[in-house]
């Protein structure tokens, strides 16, 4: 019975081309066991049933994505798959995300997984030029996605050859289903920061702090107070929270989607239109997106199926810069204390601020800057693919997929000439306008022939062979122009043309070409034992002639013990798996053209000028990741209890490195090449419990847990360490994300000095920052433990879904707190409330050094600003009620589903001193070295939404 069902399923699969097909018997599922899920694994038309599974992957269904927790799909799947850690770069809507699959996949190369949507490898990553962070994947409407497969081990990723080392995320959009059905979904809500615990001084406390500070310099209390008031020019009553002044009370989100799914036996379409509008928490942060999707599958004959998928998307993003920019309101608001009014008495902006953000006239009144300066990005995406599936002979099938991903990014920035960044003196005049135009396109064509046959008595031998080729071409270009010389107080003329003088400009294009040959074969014996092997040979345009081609082989096997009668009595599923695969990494754009010895072109006086920029590296080649995986799948009690456990170890050698230290006397003090090595290993577990499965009461509990540890195993031949920004140093035997920092030792109770340790054994301290030393802290920036737990409950017409996530075993660093939580070095801005508790002769037992205005040595980057990141988060929860047609008495609607839901509802941090969102530390610098750093980005939001979904 199983067999027949699967054959039927496979038949259907053939005819639906590249669509995802998870075939389940529709009714009476409790009486049938072993209804296998058959998926087309990956994008090459290769199918695999649960029983043929030899590798490791996670499957995420559309349900999670219809009501996404974020605007971009990568962030929306956080917590859903074991071994996949997802962090937003920022709470800015549309922000990029860092996705790591099974730990650190490369120390200095690309760590971003390969994303393939309907067969097309798409643009990913941060595309922001002027904007702070813009996620290319945010252009895809999560509601249009049918499924996401996360391919993790060697045998599932090796077939992607040189691009799969960081894992592969295969996304398939929704297909139409026979019949005709509309769905309309709309939701509306509001949000506020999910976790933010900074406490700052109010105006009176600011004066009090400075008074105490001046008293430490032997001023009398009265004189000190007078001096403090004069310092801030305080009027005695102003008390402005610049944090509140630069933020919205609540950030509004609205999202509407309408889709149609329908068709006949031979042709189906899925069409959708979506609109998303989300505000960030600062007054200038917004994101909106319009999506349209059309997907069609046409069964032209019994043997020929054609499918087409089109996604059109356009978004507008506005938002402030993050990082150390004065104009970043999250950071900047901490540099203006409460004594400073936003407006003058006459209602004009106060441009005589006393703050840590420069001095007048180059003044950063953040509210005024939010009102006047511009920073806007408009993105357009067209993703289109065409698939053909042709069963041209018995047991033979040909599949072809041609796709194009086109992206256009236009950005505009304008800074007024009167204050803020635009007011810096420049020979080309004041004010600053910039316009940039970036384009990125990729086309991909894959052609494969598949041979599937069952031989022998009772068809006990199953053989599947696929072979083919794939070609990929990528092209990107940019151009920009900047002008200066804008008229004072003329804040409407913000176009680039309005600037009097051209200040700069440029443009270039680049790209890569990839060609791959693919072969894969599997053999199954009586469904008891399955063997799979694959081979891919890739040619890549940016590697040296000696290494232009790379070979990637993989193999795996499984034993389905539940096919043995004695075992099947107890186990519905008992599968042991083992796999190995070699996968490559091209390193991405940083390594373009590095094989060549090139002369860069510039000018000198009035002539053209060449300079050697690189010696070239003919031996530039693929990073190789060798991935080992063993796994166990258990299903008992009619598969109501399912457990999957995987153990893995990835050995990553020949890692691409932009700066291998080299003897400077050769003329090149660093070289580009392959030199670093690391390993990543861990355990993953998934548990799925169907606790109740009655008609009126269903309760499913599914959880995932993962443990990962990574280690640096090889550096360049001479180096003993490689310093990474920020606060890390790659050293053999250490986790690459281990914090390497000065170690704060608290306060000298005898005199109020701040102390730091001078050695790793922490035996001696010093108050002299030049004598403090950095050493390994034993704390990592990448979480060791991650878990997600989903509760799904259906009681009659009510349904509820609760997702909780956990991350543990890691520390996060506040990159800028040293400016607003120190001992007097910075006193023009605000300070944290705790500054009032500093050491004084009257308070000698304080655990905080004395606040001394002008204290020169209190701003050292140190463990003082390092926090445990461990936390549990109520990531999302929703509760809904389904009104059926009869109850409503509606004729046109089949059902109406009303719901409320929340995102990031509660966060329990294990470190009571943690002040910022431990998930908002994603990838400050875009590198492994930047992990765990909180960069004063926009906080993630806690949202409450109300929604309705109507089927008609």
């Amino acid at each position: 019975m199983t067999l027949n069902l699967r054959i039927v399923a496979i038949g259907v699969l053939f005819f639906t081309g590249q669509a995802l097909t998870a075939q389940k018997k529709k009714a009476d599922s409790t009486t049938t066991k072993n209804i296998d899920e058959v998926v087309i694994l990956g994008t090459y038309g290769i199918k695999e049933s649960q029983e043929q599974k030899v590798g490791s992957y996670s499957l995420i269904k559309s349900k999670v994505l219809e009501k996404p927790n974020a605007v971009s799909l990568d962030l929306a799947i956080a917590g859903q798959a074991a071994g996949v850690v997802i962090n937003a770069n920022s709470g800015q809507p549309g922000s990029n995300a860092r996705v790591t699959i099974r730990g650190i996949s490369s120390l200095t190369g690309n760590t971003q997984p390969l994303y393939v949507i309907d067969g097309v490898p798409v643009l990913t990553g941060d595309q922001a030029g002027i904007a702070t962070t813009s996620n290319a994947l945010a252009m895809i409407n999560p509601a249009d996605i049918e499924s996401i497969e996360v391919l993790k081990d060697g045998v599932t990723t090796s077939i992607y050859g040189s691009r799969g080392a960081a894992g592969v995320i295969v996304i398939k959009t929704k297909s139409g289903k026979k019949g005709g059905k509309f769905n309309f979904n709309s939701e509306f809500g509001a949000g506020a920061p999910a976790f933010e615990k900074y406490k700052f001084l109010n105006a009176a406390q600011q004066i009090q702090l400075m008074t105490t500070g001046y008293m430490s310099q032997n001023f009398s209390e009265a004189d000190a107070r007078q001096k403090a008031i004069e310092l801030y020019n305080w009027d005695g009553k102003t008390d402005v929270s610049w944090k509140d002044a630069t933020r919205r009370n609540s950030a509004i989100t609205s999202r509407s989607n309408i889709n149609y799914s329908g068709g006949s036996d031979n042709a189906t379409i899925y069409a959708s239109l979506g609109y998303t509008d989300q505000e960030g928490i600062t007054r200038d942060a917004t994101y909106n997106r319009v999506n349209a999707t059309l997907k069609a599958n046409w069964k032209m004959t019994d043997k020929l199926v054609v499918s087409m998928s089109n996604i059109l998307s356009r978004s507008n993003q506005k938002g402030p810069l993050d990082y150390g920019y004065f104009q970043n309101p999250i950071l900047g608001s901490k540099f203006i204390n409460n004594t400073q009014p936003v407006y003058n008495a006459d209602g004009s902006y106060n441009l005589a601020l006393v703050s840590g953000l420069g001095t007048p006239p180059n003044n950063f009144n953040l509210v005024a800057l939010q009102d006047i300066n511009k920073r806007k990005s408009t993105f357009t995406k067209i993703l289109s693919s065409l698939g053909v599936d042709y069963s041209f002979a018995k047991n033979f099938r040909f599949s072809s997929n041609l796709g194009i991903d086109y992206n256009s990014y236009n950005e505009h920035e304008w800074a007024n000439p009167d204050f803020g960044d635009g007011s810096t003196a420049n020979p080309n005049g004041l004010g600053y306008g910039m316009q940039s135009d970036n384009g990125y396109e990729i086309w991909n064509w894959s052609n494969l022939v598949h041979y599937n046959v069952k031989l022998g008595n009772d068809q006990i031998h199953e053989i599947n062979v696929s072979a083919g080729a794939e070609a990929t071409s990528e092209y990107d270009k940019f151009s920009f122009v900047t002008r200066r010389g804008y008229n004072s107080l003329n804040y409407n003329q913000t176009t680039v043309s309005a600037g009097a003088n051209i200040d700069g400009g440029g443009g270039d294009y680049s790209g890569y070409k990839l060609i791959g040959y693919i072969a894969r074969a599997s053999y199954g014996f009586k469904e008891l034992v399955n063997l799979t092997g694959s081979f891919r040979r890739d040619g890549y345009s940016h590697f040296g002639d000696n290494f232009k081609y790379g070979n990637f082989a993989a193999g795996g096997f499984n034993v389905n013990l539940h096919k043995i009668d004695a075992v099947s009595k107890m186990f519905d599923n008992l599968q042991l798996r083992a796999s190995y695969g070699a996968v490559g990494n091209t390193g991405g754009q940083d390594y373009y053209y590095q094989k060549y010895s090139l002369y860069g072109l510039s000018t000198y006086q009035d002539t053209s000028a060449y300079t050697i920029t690189s010696p070239g590296n003919e031996n530039l080649r693929w990073e190789k990741s060798k991935k080992y995986n063993v796994g166990l799948d258990i299903g008992i009690l009619q598969n109501r209890v399912k457990l999957t456990v995987d153990l893995y170890r990835n050995i990553i050698n020949d890692q691409l490195t932009p700066s291998i230290p080299n003897a400077g006397s050769t003329g090149f003090s660093s070289l580009v090449g392959n030199s670093l090595a690391s390993t990543s290993q861990g355990v993953e577990a998934n548990l799925n419990l169907d606790i109740f499965k009655n008609e009126n009461f269903q309760w499913t509990l599914s959880g995932n847990f993962s443990y990962n540890d990574s280690e640096v195993t090889g550096l360049t031949s001479q180096a003993t360490f490689l310093t990474q920004s920020f606060g890390k140093r790659y050293t053999i035997g250490h986790n690459p994300t281990e914090w390497y920092l000065y170690s704060y030792a608290g306060v000298d109770k005898s005199n109020g000095d701040a102390l730091w340790y001078t050695d790793a054994s922490k035996t001696t301290t010093t108050n002299d920052t030049s004598k403090a030393t950095e050493f390994f802290t034993g704390f990592n920036a990448l979480p060791k433990y991650n878990a997600g737990l989903t509760n799904t409950l259906t009681v009659g017409n009510f349904s509820a879904n609760i997702l909780m996530t956990y991350a543990g075993g890691y520390h996060v660093y506040d990159l800028w707190e040293r400016y607003f939580n120190n001992d007097g070095q910075d006193f023009l801005g605000s300070q944290e409330l705790d500054a009032l508790n500093g050491w004084t002769p009257d308070n000698p037992n304080s655990d905080r050094p004395q606040f001394r205005p002008g204290n020169p040595s209190s701003r050292l980057h140190s463990t003082r600003y390092l926090y445990k990141g461990d936390h549990i988060r109520l990531k999302s929860a929703d509760l809904g009620y389904r009104l059926n047609k009869n109850a409503l008495g509606l004729e046109n609607a089949n059902s109406i589903y009303l719901y409320i839901r929340g995102v990031n509802l509660a966060t329990i941090a294990f470190d009571k001193n943690l002040k910022f969102d431990p998930e908002a530390n994603a990838n400050t610098l875009g590198t492994v070295g930047g992990m765990g750093v909180y960069d004063q980005t926009q906080p993630n939001l806690r949202q409450f939404l109300f929604g309705v979904s109507i089927d008609f």
Binding site: F392, A469, Y512, S541, S602, Q605, T607, T611, T666
Partner: protein, 476 residues
């Protein structure tokens, strides 16, 4: 089955198509803002553009404000002496005479920057030599410019990383590379090998050099003479030093000097006739605030403004001397006096070599064969600078001393003249103690043959160069 064959063939055809064009396909992406060596050395113009590129790099912003370009190298030397006073900030450690440790920015910059330029020059020499399309006459001129630049860079390097040549010619000197892009580090050479290499290069440059050049930043034959004069001066080869110095300024003292522009701020290499070598700058092509010495000496334009003049130094100048550009700041401490010799602007050129230096090299060299001629030559310069100058009554060694003082008076702030002379003459560099200095180095004055006259070998070089012993910095 027939159908299968058709499709199999069709599929094979697709694969073959991909196969046949894959090389071309994979080689298609090419960088658009860079070219290969074939293009550079395919024509004289290409090679000329490469020379322009190398010279542009000498004026760059290499690592930091005090380690940006040739100007910052010379200005670090200026700070080591007695005649100028650094009030803190940039070049402060050079002023302190302790900016020489293996990990310090000065050390790493001086080494890497010189070798960066040497490698470019090696590529130029190799590329031009091997070019099949540049004609023989052009090759000669191009190569002689290459040799002059290489000699210059190696000479400056040799001054920074060892005692002076005459201290001990067998001491280790920096490695010598005569080919480009040799990516494994070479072993240290010796002072003797280094100066043999430098003199070979500079003699070749002189032999084939041409006087033609686009502007005064190019290394034509005159510059080659000037470099040779400096090199032989350091080596103590006085006949050659005299001859090349004479050739560098042309032999006619009056014609080689422009006293009337001395006080104009040294901003324009084409003003007057004195500049032999300089780094030109424009508003849009400049080292900006990395421009030494002017951004540091100036007290009138907004820049770093952190370099003053030892209050005793102006006493060497008469009121009628055109070089008396000293002003009072109004302060009474070590910042009492400043000079207006260098005017700062983004488009202010930077001087690297002038004719008076050559006249004084010739005078110094002549002294060893004809002290009277030396004195007469010296006087020609003195009276040019100060019409009321009277020839001194010095004889013997005192003439030499007078020349050394004249060198300081003429060239202070430009090429680190005090440091250069103290080092090669194996003298100390003690500082005035009467509150003339922020750091008078009372307890640790620069002694003759002081190790602080040279830098240690950068640790990064030792770490990455298997051919340099780990112990190279022992006793340095």
């Amino acid at each position: 089955m027939k159908k299968f064959k058709i499709y199999a063939i069709a599929f094979l055809a697709i694969l073959l198509t991909a196969q046949s064009c894959r090389e071309e396909y994979l080689n298609e992406p090419q960088k658009t803002d860079a070219v290969s060596s074939d293009v550079v050395f395919g024509s004289s113009d290409g090679a000329r553009a490469f020379i322009a590129g190398i010279i542009r790099q000498t004026r760059s912003q290499y690592t930091a404000t005090d380690t940006g370009n040739l100007g910052s190298m010379y200005f670090a030397r200026t700070n080591k002496g007695n005649d100028v006073v650094n009030s803190g900030s940039w070049f402060g450690s050079d002023y302190q005479n302790d900016n020489r440790e293996p990990n310090y920015r000065r050390t790493v910059f001086t080494w890497n920057f010189m070798y960066y330029l040497i490698n470019q020059t090696n590529a130029l020499i190799k590329g031009v030599s091997e070019s099949t399309t540049i004609d023989a006459a052009d090759k000669k001129t191009l190569l002689s410019e290459g040799y002059a630049m290489r000699a210059f860079f190696y000479f400056e390097l040799s001054l920074e990383f060892q005692h002076t040549y005459n201290y001990d010619v067998n001491l280790p000197a920096p490695p010598i590379y005569d080919q480009p892009s040799q990516l494994e580090g070479k072993p240290m050479s010796t002072q003797k090998e280094m100066y043999t290499f430098i003199t070979q290069d500079i003699e070749k440059a002189i032999a084939d050099g041409s006087e033609d050049r686009l502007n005064k930043s190019y290394f034509n034959k005159t510059v080659a003479y000037g470099i040779a004069a400096r090199v032989y001066q350091v080596m103590g080869n006085w006949p050659k030093a005299a001859a090349y110095a004479n050739a560098a300024y042309g032999g006619d003292v009056e014609a080689a000097l422009s006293p009337s522009v001395y006080g104009n701020g040294f901003t324009d290499m084409d003003e007057g006739v004195e500049w032999i070598l300089g780094s030109p700058q424009t508003e849009d092509q400049s080292a900006y605030y990395y421009t030494a010495p002017s951004a540091f000496f100036t007290q009138t334009e907004s820049a770093y403004n952190n370099t003053f003049i030892n209050k005793n130094f102006p006493n060497l100048f008469t009121d009628t001397d055109v070089r008396n550009t000293f002003q009072q700041t109004g302060r009474t401490d070590y910042r009492a006096v400043y000079t207006t010799k260098f005017v700062f602007a983004f488009d202010a050129d930077v001087v690297l070599m002038r004719t008076p230096e050559m006249i004084l090299i010739e005078a110094e060299a002549l002294y060893y064969s004809n002290p009277t001629a030396a004195k007469n030559l010296l006087y020609k310069l003195q009276v040019n600078r100060d019409p009321s100058a009277v020839m001194s009554s010095n004889t013997g060694q005192a003439i030499l001393e007078e020349i050394y003082v004249e060198r300081r008076k003429e060239l202070y702030g430009e090429i680190g003249i005090e440091w250069y002379d103290a080092k090669r003459l194996r003298r100390g560099l003690p500082r005035d103690q009467n509150k003339a200095h922020r750091l008078p180095l009372t307890d640790n004055p620069m002694m003759p043959d002081d190790k602080r006259f040279f830098l240690k070998i950068p640790q990064a070089e030792i770490d990455a160069n298997p051919n340099i012993p780990k112990t190279i910095n022992d006793n340095r």
